[in-house]
């Protein structure tokens, strides 16, 4: 028997329309690419998104067409999220940190018809222009006066196009399953793969992740997504913040400690989201400058494991709750979070930090499970490791153009992560399946070793990879970068590792390097390092 309720799909355009009606005066604050502060309201954002939709009609964009963006976190990018998806096209966020060959691969794969580009990224596109014949036009996200000199053509100015259009638009009543967004994974191996979101998944994700089980937004929240809008949709905050009326602070190109501190204090930001290295950078700046971040109450941290030392530091020095989270491009992206619960607050601080440093628990709508090599369930006992799988209405069912479909099994998406889950449901990512070091048939977690190393104060960042070993097949080696103002002594680092990891996990070599390579999203580029150091132990006669 079927219910008798209206089948009214909720669309991304409904989110901004709702914000315009309920929170017309709520502010969107952006740091522009020129470094100035831009400030307007959700009502303004709505009107300009309507103008933008009229621009798309004038450019001849059709429903379902992919329209790309290559932009920092700022108000025009926000308008693009809504204007493009609300119009019925697909907003394809290009990752600004991609290498040229990945960029033109992705643009061609997506068949992008137009690209809306922030001026600083124009040179990136010039480099690949000849390889992307599908692109019919480039719109530079700036005023007419700021238009750069460029060989890109056909070329348009964002503000000139908008100024010519009406600020009313009748948003089409699309279907819930119509595609709304496209984002490619920044894979460290193989070609990037596209994740194609739809309106149903985007709106459900915003409704649930903006609620008290996760980001916990209301009109009283001031939120700053440092995590980029060109990657994992800035955790969906461009949708969830307007849905619940939070003030939105978009930090533009500047994610250094000084720039973030200025925005946090200036705008009274109380929640902010980024990868761990950003928070390390902010801390270093605060230490050096003596400046404050008193308004900040919570940082959400994903993209890499949470270094426990930073969790503790943020709690004890800044009174900031460090909320470990986990998600992927493939999961819209939010899935699990270690939110501040009444139970956590009652714990001894050290026990609480342990849980904050996990990826937390699955929110309603997301189911997680760990599986062994035989596809059997592994118990949630806090000890047993398994391949992490996830399912739910905002998890992808297949990649765009059906690539990489070996990641799916029995209705689950296989994340490629190895994880443990404790009896309370707290998830801990132990490693990427491919980063686990296989030593004599046993697994060594590179992530655990890296976190343990951060307990030695002289270490700035640590990276552990497997190097070939004649007897054990693979053995761990550790690469570290150092803090400038600290004395380093390898034996002290080894002492810091002892007791924190099993004896047989101890790296066969520890190598100090000047810098470590990162992907466009701040992750360690281990593939590259594994190639470089593959024979290190053999060559050094270990």
């Amino acid at each position: 028997m079927k219910g008798r309720m209206m089948q009214v799909p909720l669309l991304t355009s409904d989110i901004l329309k709702n914000a315009m009606q309920r929170y017309p005066q709520q502010q969107v604050v952006s740091r522009t690419n020129e470094g100035t502060i831009h400030r307007y309201s959700y009502a303004d954002a709505y009107r300009r998104s309507c103008q933008l939709a009229n621009v798309l009609a004038r450019l001849g964009v059709q429903r379902g067409d992919r329209v790309a963006t290559l932009a920092w976190n700022n108000y025009r990018h926000l308008e693009l999220y809504y204007g493009i998806s609300g119009y019925g096209a697909v907003v394809h966020t290009l990752n600004a940190r991609l290498f040229a060959e990945q960029l033109h691969y992705i643009i061609n794969h997506a068949e992008d018809g137009y690209i809306f580009v922030d001026a600083p990224f124009v040179p990136l596109l010039e480099e690949v222009r000849e390889q992307i014949p599908c692109v019919r036009g480039f719109i530079v996200n700036c005023d007419a006066a700021d238009m750069p000199e460029t060989s890109l053509a056909p070329l348009y100015c964002y503000e000139t196009l908008l100024a010519a259009e009406n600020d009313q638009f009748e948003w089409p009543r699309l279907e819930a399953t119509d595609a709304s967004g496209l984002c490619y994974t920044s894979g460290t191996t193989g070609n990037p793969k596209g994740v194609l979101y739809d309106h149903h998944s985007s709106v459900l994700h915003a409704m649930m992740s903006g609620g008290s089980q996760y980001l916990d937004f209301s009109e009283r929240t001031c939120v700053m997504p440092v995590v980029p809008m060109y990657h994992v949709c800035a955790w969906g905050v461009p949708f969830s913040a307007p849905l619940y009326g939070a003030k939105l602070v978009l930090p533009g190109p500047s994610t250094d400690g000084a720039s973030l501190q200025e925005l946090i204090e200036g705008e009274s930001v109380d929640k902010a989201y980024a990868v761990p290295t950003v928070w390390l950078g902010l801390h270093n700046y605060l230490e050096a400058s003596g400046k404050k971040i008193d308004s900040l109450k919570l940082v959400g941290v994903g993209g890499a494991a949470s270094p426990r030392a930073l969790v503790k530091l943020y709690a004890e020095r800044y009174n900031v709750y460090w909320m470990g989270i986990w998600g992927m491009t493939e999961t819209s992206p939010l899935a699990t979070a270690a939110i501040p619960t009444p139970q956590l607050e009652q714990l001894d601080p050290e026990a609480r930090y342990d849980l904050q440093a996990t990826a937390g628990r699955a929110m309603f709508g997301v189911e997680i499970g760990i599986f062994d090599a035989n596809d059997d369930r592994v118990p949630h006992d806090g000890e047993s490791r398994g391949s992490l799988r996830v399912r739910g209405p905002w998890v992808l069912s297949s990649y765009f153009k059906d690539e990489g479909n070996d990641n799916f099994a029995d209705g689950w998406f296989d994340t490629g992560d190895v994880a443990v889950i404790n009896p309370e449901g707290y998830l801990k990512i132990v490693d990427r399946s491919k980063d686990v070091i296989k030593s004599g048939g046993e697994w060594i977690s590179s992530v655990d070793l890296e976190n343990a190393a951060l307990n030695y104060e002289a270490v700035n960042e640590a990276c552990v990879i497997g190097a070939r070993h004649l007897k054990w097949d693979e053995r761990p080696i550790m690469l570290v970068t150092l803090k400038q103002d600290r004395e380093y002594d390898e034996s002290e680092l080894r002492a810091a590792l002892e007791g924190r990891v099993a004896k047989w996990w101890m790296p066969d070599a520890i190598i100090v390097v000047d810098e470590l390579p990162h992907t466009g999203t701040g992750k360690l580029r281990k593939v590259e390092l594994r190639q470089q150091y593959a024979e290190f132990l053999i060559n050094s006669g270990s």
Copy 2:
């Protein structure tokens, strides 16, 4: 172009499963029908709901079958919400305040196969047993020791049935559009009509109404729905509270001031929901007893217009925020609410009370509009009146068995209410379309007159209806009940009305009565009064 996301329907069983995983220790506190306090956890509720689903299988209940409940707000009723709908059957909540002829009409119309009944309602069913041959069995919601003497047959004991079953159940993966619940409108005219909810509408409603735009639940909330689970699903709180982990206090059969005060203080309730008369009763009790309700921060009030005097009283005497809301059985039921916003807090108190006494603003997912007799939109100017229409994914699209389908137009549901909406979106129900008094071609709002009368302290309750008038067609007459301890003088009441309503709205007669008739859901039974007093003015020679 279609997105590529998992089409995973969210089901009511997922809500309680999520609560069992995330909030296993969170409490559900019930006042039993015997007056004692019962206390258990969401984990307990989950296990017993599994047992209940196994009971349904043993009883031969099929997917889509309607299974009725006739029960107060208590833990067994909570288990029935989940056990029946999660099993794939339809939980049909029978209104305990119905008259016998409505009751057997509804049971037959729904074709209920089983009825789960609280012991106090057994006599009600005995009265109609011969008229409801479709019912294959009656389960009394009690322990074996408490089974009542009854002629009802076949008869089962709830606890005996549960005790025989396993506490694990594999919830079926139903479709989002499968029916989950059935509730009949308590129409004051004509036969009741059925609203058939589905899993999609129930879960979306819980996700959104439990968020910061409406009920604003988290693990830190302790919520008491006084509004009955047998009517408008207790505002969906049995779904939204477990979804967000709120402590749930179910007041059972006792909604008098003393019982509610005891639960509020004893359980530290901070949010509670009921019709205005309940809050009047609580206030009267607090005045008489000198007792406190210090934990209470907010009352949500719907089902009838909010008397502004009570809004002010609750703010100034009890420091409780009065949140006017609006919804209907047909809207799942929550649609609009005057939540406490930062903007409201900054208003002058008297201006804030005005807005709190409205029905508030539509939450995301609900669209409201007012229309004139030509189906044209009426402006949202705070002055213009129109027929209120509503649409959204938790609004019905047609009644069960297609009755009353003249309430639908252009994808909207016509509520039968007359309303104004102000430029900020605040909705004010002016009257039921059929309760408006048509005097000389102009409309007089019975509700406005009733609210104005409550400004005179001696008035306990006021009811305004139209009586036939030779010159003006209809003129208002006011029926009032009085407080026992106050002096009443009609000229003082008239003085209280003056300045609050237009001169020509002044009632042609004010009649003191001992009591006023109410519907099963606490609304004034105006149809009855209109018949009784139809010729009052003509007979009295006015």
